[in-house]
């Protein structure tokens, strides 16, 4: 099994061959012998040489974070044989969506449609768990659209406004 794995923007090629709990790995050309036991779902006990590691896998919204001790790594795993493995270019231009970072309630809308805003200017205030959180504009531009009004309940990820 071969994977392209990117962690924190860096790419690694990993070949894996499994025999029970023993895995012969080739990481960017280097041979590594690993003894792996799935202690419980999302928790691997690894022995690499004689060093022991407990690795936790955190899966939220399809993203995968691996925790080695208290260090967290965002991992993207691709199968190089799959066409889906191509990375899409990210478009930094054009309209930017402001989304709710958490489920909550819109307390205030601080701008009107058509307003000019600076990068970092407050656009809306969302309240959750008795805390108010100001949603700021990610860029300098014009408020193209406001999709919510004061008092509205929102879910994490809901689009609240668009800045162009």
């Amino acid at each position: 099994m071969t994977y392209d794995i990117s962690i924190d923007g860096k790419n690694y090629r990993l070949d894996l061959n499994r025999e029970d709990s023993r895995w012969s790995c080739r990481l960017d050309g280097n041979e590594v012998e690993v003894d792996a036991v799935l202690a419980r779902p999302d928790v691997l006990s690894l022995r690499i040489g004689n060093k022991a590691y407990e690795v936790k896998c955190e899966r939220v919204a399809g993203e995968r974070h691996l925790w080695v001790g208290s260090a967290r790594f965002a991992a993207e795993v691709r199968d190089p044989r799959s066409l889906r493995g191509r990375v899409r270019a990210v478009d930094d231009y054009g309209p930017k969506k402001l989304t709710a970072p958490m489920p909550g309630k819109i307390v205030r809308v601080l701008v009107s449609q058509g307003d000019e805003v600076e990068a970092g200017a407050g656009v809306l205030v969302v309240e959750a768990m008795k805390m108010q959180n100001e949603i700021k504009s990610p860029k300098k531009g014009t408020i193209q659209k406001i999709l919510v009004s004061g008092g509205a309940a929102v879910n994490a990820g809901d689009v609240l406004a668009i800045v162009e």
Partner: protein, 508 residues
């Protein structure tokens, strides 16, 4: 003794009180709002009753609904926990009228202490030292301006009904006063239904040290040592410890005696806490009295060997304090970390959601008071406190090392928590040297986070583990994977190929 106690609260404190009930052979009645059906306190209770909509005013703050449940369940006492109705004199009075014992002080004592302005008036008479300012609510902006000018900036605006840092504003200069007053008033109105705000001189970077008191209904009042609560963010306590590293036996006795005087002046019964500000010269000023069990009560329990909830219940049942002041011994050192559902990478904003993976610390000197479990979805409607992790040792150093070790064992997956913050705090040289004040945490958070000297192989280990998890596939996945089609988790800007693949897998 009571046969059945209703716990008018939720989360870790409800679980804490239920446990005490069971230890004492008392049946425990839980109440829950619509979003708390699956909460831990409902699972632990002997009986559970729904009390309505998630908004606290419709459920946990609704006096009538809670008294209805008390009647239906034939509970003979109500424990209010902290927050919600715990310091509501109207509720205490309604309990008396309904013939059910309120486990806490009388309504009269709460009236005297529950309002910070009235407490100041009472303390003026009892000759207790307190911070200069007004002992009455501010009537107008002009009055605020005058008083602030008289006592000198910086000043602190505070909600009379306040607690937990809500309705509080630090004002450095006259031009900030107006918006701060409006902000404090509206926040006080929102949080407590009472917009009364007063002003006092701000003591910059003081220590916040509080004294636990306990009084029975036969005129006996004792103090149970102090707690150092200087580590705060947005006036919300984050780490508490007992004893305070700066309080020696002589100062403890002085503060304790003042605290007892405060309690007696108010005719106080049951458990309460007298808060003091302590300046750099170790002068202490009365700040307020909290007429409830505190979040941080476990650190006092560990160093005194007492169970405060047991004692609350016994005192409320009319028993005498089973010990005298001379018998109260302080032994060892305890430190508490408040584990909140907050995102350290997003300015510690609340992070509700489903807990997909939970690994728990244990071992010597570790106590965990928790309201969460794996698979539970943290609702967005309440305070984000999930659990309290308390480390105990023969001295402060050992308490810190045990707590640090336990934090490394603790893992909460699926939501963001502030666990990493405690690693930073506990390894900070100033914290280790006990050089702490209420400005400590803000200063720490302004510093760039030092690169943790993690295992140099950690990245390689992560790469290998990512590959092995991919090979093992969904067989190795916990409860998180199947969550991906919920719209609460959809993040349109973050669509990755990995997510698409996971989604396909989840909907297959």
């Amino acid at each position: 003794m009571f046969k059945k106690i209703l716990i008018a609260n939720r989360g870790e404190i409800a679980v804490r009180v239920i446990r005490a009930c069971h230890e004492m052979g008392i049946a425990a009645v839980a109440v829950y709002s619509d979003v708390d059906r699956a909460s831990l306190h409902v699972r632990k209770a002997d009986e559970a009753y729904p009390i309505g909509a998630p908004a606290a005013s419709e459920s946990y703050l609704n006096i009538q609904k809670i008294l209805d449940v008390a009647a239906r369940s034939r509970a003979d006492a109500i424990h209010p926990g902290y927050g919600f109705l715990s310091e509501n004199a109207k509720f205490a009075r309604a309990c008396v009228d309904a013939g059910v014992k309120f486990i806490g002080p009388t309504a009269a004592a709460m009236d005297a202490m529950g309002s910070k302005t009235r407490a100041r008036q009472a303390m003026e008479q009892a000759g207790v030292p307190f911070v200069p300012g007004t002992s009455h609510g501010l009537e107008s902006y002009e009055q605020a301006e005058q008083v602030a000018a008289r006592i000198g900036y910086p000043v602190m605006l505070k909600a009379a009904a306040g607690g937990g840092g809500k309705g509080m504003r630090l004002v450095h200069a006259p031009e900030e006063l107006k918006s701060a007053l409006e902000g404090a008033r509206s926040e006080a109105e929102r949080s407590f239904g009472d917009s009364e705000v007063y002003v006092e001189k701000a003591i910059l970077n003081p220590r916040h040290i509080e004294m636990q008191v306990l009084a029975d209904e036969h005129g006996n009042t004792v103090y149970l040592g102090e707690r150092e609560c200087s580590l705060q963010r947005r006036h919300q306590k984050v780490v508490e410890e007992a004893p305070s590293p700066v309080v020696d036996p002589e100062m403890r006795q002085k503060m304790g005696e003042v605290a007892v005087r405060v309690a007696q002046a108010a005719g106080y019964t049951n458990a309460g806490t007298v808060e003091f500000l302590v300046d750099q010269q170790k002068n202490f000023y009365f700040l307020e009295m909290n007429t409830r069990l505190q979040v941080e009560h476990p650190v006092t329990e560990l160093i005194t060997g007492l169970d405060l909830v047991h004692l609350q219940i016994r005192v409320a049942a009319g028993e005498r304090l089973p010990f005298t002041q001379d018998e109260v011994m302080i032994r060892g050192h305890a430190i508490e970390c408040r584990i909140y559902a907050e995102d350290p990478d997003n300015n510690y904003f609340p992070s509700p959601g489903k807990i997909t993976l939970l690994l728990l610390p244990s071992g010597p000197g570790i106590r965990r008071d928790s309201g969460m479990y794996e698979g539970w979805t943290v609702p967005m409607d309440y305070d984000p406190l999930l659990a309290k992790l308390i480390g105990y040792g023969t001295d402060r150093e050992q308490a810190i090392s045990r707590l640090t070790r336990a934090l490394n064992e603790y893992f909460v997956g699926g939501i963001k928590t502030n666990i990493s913050l405690f690693r930073r705090i506990l390894s900070d040289p100033d914290f280790r040297a006990a050089k702490i004040d209420t400005g400590f945490l803000d200063r720490l958070l302004k510093q760039k986070q030092a690169e943790t000297p993690s295992d140099p192989n950690a990245i390689e280990v992560a790469v290998i583990a990512a590959g092995i998890f991919a090979v093992l596939g969904s067989a190795a996945a916990g409860s998180g994977e199947r969550l991906t089609n919920g719209n609460a988790n959809s993040r349109p800007n973050a669509a990755s190929n990995w997510k698409i693949a996971a989604h396909k897998e989840a909907t297959r």
